[in-house]
């Protein structure tokens, strides 16, 4: 197990930036008119907030007790008929107890028609359903936790949950339903090694970093998420396939040199199913990796990850169950250099109780088992998570 202190994951700490972002948000609220609407309407500020309590069995590396989750603000300004924006700022506590601020999304869009919008900036990477559907919106998410492999880059995720670049998306009527697409090209991540480490085992200490300021190599990450939304008898059902590809490097000696020591061509393909109808919520996603070592001689390595979650709303209560599993090759630098790149399986069971339309209480039990692999120690633990989540 690795203990990492003061890991800088491109998030600012308390001080100047939060104040600046807060002032910017306030300025936007006060100054952006919604052009086609009454001038006095302004732009509504929306958001999410949550707090919770966690208990874990003793092998867990996660903190226990009460916790403040996140405070998330977002705006959807419409600058004119075709030009719009999506701006999201989040304040959240780190496991070290500090408040981190992140410019979560800053994407400016141009809508050509009902079928096509092009965005530039920082956005949620469009793969599967969960990452774009829920992300920091805890109150609209049934479970307390995300599937671990889909978590945020600095919280156990193994995929780039954020991207800086260009994205095109839209829907086209086809048959009785709609064909949907999201296509993107962006900087792609690197695996950032912690600057100030206290390493207690040989486990890899790296975390995906999304290269907000510019790419660190000459190959962009490209991806596609193609889906079909059914109507009629199957209304609420969406089936999709997704893929992305790009080079990801790491500075595995932790010196922050400009030379990336390992370069891996990451190729992912998979699919997702989402059914949100008749009070059912069925979500499933599958990711297959075939990654190629471009800087060494270890060749190509296959890995996979998936989850399935099923829930059913009865009055104000939605009980759910989720199964998740990953099999990640430790010969693959992309996984072996990530702290969270260890294979695991997890079962989650819980419920969400909607106190009102905008407030929910959740309870969740987790059983997590991490596998013994090269450079990794096997461990397992159980957790009880509760969360009080609101939206506004």
């Amino acid at each position: 197990m690795v203990t990492v202190k003061n890991v800088n994951v491109s998030r600012s700490r308390q001080g100047g930036l939060p104040a600046f972002l807060g002032a910017t948000l306030a300025g936007l609220v006060l100054t952006i008119p919604a052009p086609a609407q009454a001038e006095s309407d302004g732009v509504p500020l929306h958001g999410f907030a949550d707090a919770g309590f966690a208990m874990h069995s003793k092998e867990s590396p996660n903190p226990k007790g009460f916790n403040v989750g996140s405070l998330d603000f977002y705006l959807t300004p419409q600058f004119d008929n075709n030009v719009k924006g999506l701006i999201e700022i989040i304040f959240e506590t780190t496991s070290a107890g500090e408040v981190a601020t992140d410019l979560e999304r800053m994407q400016m869009g141009y809508t050509f028609s009902d079928n096509a919008t092009v965005w530039m900036g920082r956005f949620h990477t469009p793969y599967g359903y969960w990452n774009t559907g829920f992300h920091h919106g805890a109150q609209i998410q049934t479970a307390v936790s995300r599937p671990r492999f889909l978590d945020f880059e600095d919280k156990g995720g193994i995929l780039p949950a954020h991207m800086v670049g260009l994205m095109a998306n839209g829907k086209v009527r086809a048959g009785g339903g709609k064909f949907t697409y999201d296509a993107f090209v962006g900087n792609g991540p690197k695996i950032g090694m912690a600057q100030d480490l206290v390493v207690t085992t040989t486990q890899a200490p790296g975390t995906l970093s999304i290269n907000t300021a510019g790419d660190d190599n000459h190959q962009a990450m490209v991806g596609l998420n193609l889906g079909y939304e059914f109507s009629g008898m199957a209304d609420g059902l969406r089936l999709a396939v997704h893929t992305f590809r790009g080079d990801v490097g790491d500075d595995s000696d932790g010196t922050f040199s400009l030379t990336l020591l390992n370069i891996t061509e990451v190729s992912m393909a998979g699919g997702s199913v989402a059914y949100l109808g008749n009070d059912w919520e069925v979500l499933g996603e599958y990711y297959r990796f075939n990654n190629k070592d471009k800087s060494g001689t270890t060749g190509s390595h296959s890995s996979w990850a998936d989850y399935l979650q099923v829930g059913k709303t009865i009055d104000n209560v939605t009980p759910f169950i989720r199964l998740e599993k990953t099999v990640l090759s430790q010969l693959d630098n992309y996984f072996s250099m990530q702290d969270s790149g260890q294979s695991y399986n997890r079962q989650a069971l819980g419920f969400k109780y909607d106190i009102s339309q905008k407030a929910s209480l959740k309870l969740e039990l987790l059983n997590s088992k991490f596998m013994a692999e090269s450079g990794r120690i096997a461990y397992s633990y159980r957790s009880l998570l509760t969360q009080y989540a609101i939206r506004f």
Partner: protein, 132 residues
């Protein structure tokens, strides 16, 4: 005595059936004079799926006084579900939920002066298009 009960219940039933007719017929969808939409497009517009009519950006607005009736008649959706749907859509796709006006007068005023505006009222005034 029996006839008194009969008259009472008949009156109640008649009142209930009339109120049901009025409820179902309450919401009439109107649009800015420069924008023509069909009744079949209303659901798509208020779901944010149809954003343009020709080259004009559509601007749907809700009417708080008639929202339940409208959602039932045109959207086949409860109020809670409609709001949740818009939260998810706004958060994921960056769409702006329809502004909520307090009643017919505000909706009519807004629709008349805003290109692409679409709203619903209890009776259609002159100077707007009615969705058919």
């Amino acid at each position: 005595m029996k006839s008194t009960y009969f008259r009472f219940f008949s009156t109640v039933l008649l009142a209930l059936s009339l109120s049901q007719v009025a409820y179902a017929a309450d919401a009439i969808v109107i649009s800015n004079p420069g924008t023509t939409i069909s009744a079949g497009e209303v659901k798509e517009i208020f779901l944010g799926e149809k954003q343009f009519a020709g080259g004009t950006k559509l601007v749907p607005v809700d009417n708080a006084a008639l929202q339940e009736s409208f959602l039932s008649k045109f959207m086949q959706m409860a109020h809670d579900k409609y709001n949740s749907m818009w939260t998810k859509k706004s958060f994921r796709d960056g769409l702006t939920a329809p502004a909520v006006k307090s009643g017919d007068a505000e909706v009519i005023d807004f629709v008349k002066r805003t290109p692409g505006a679409v709203g619903y009222v209890s009776s259609a005034p002159a100077g707007v298009n009615v969705a058919k």
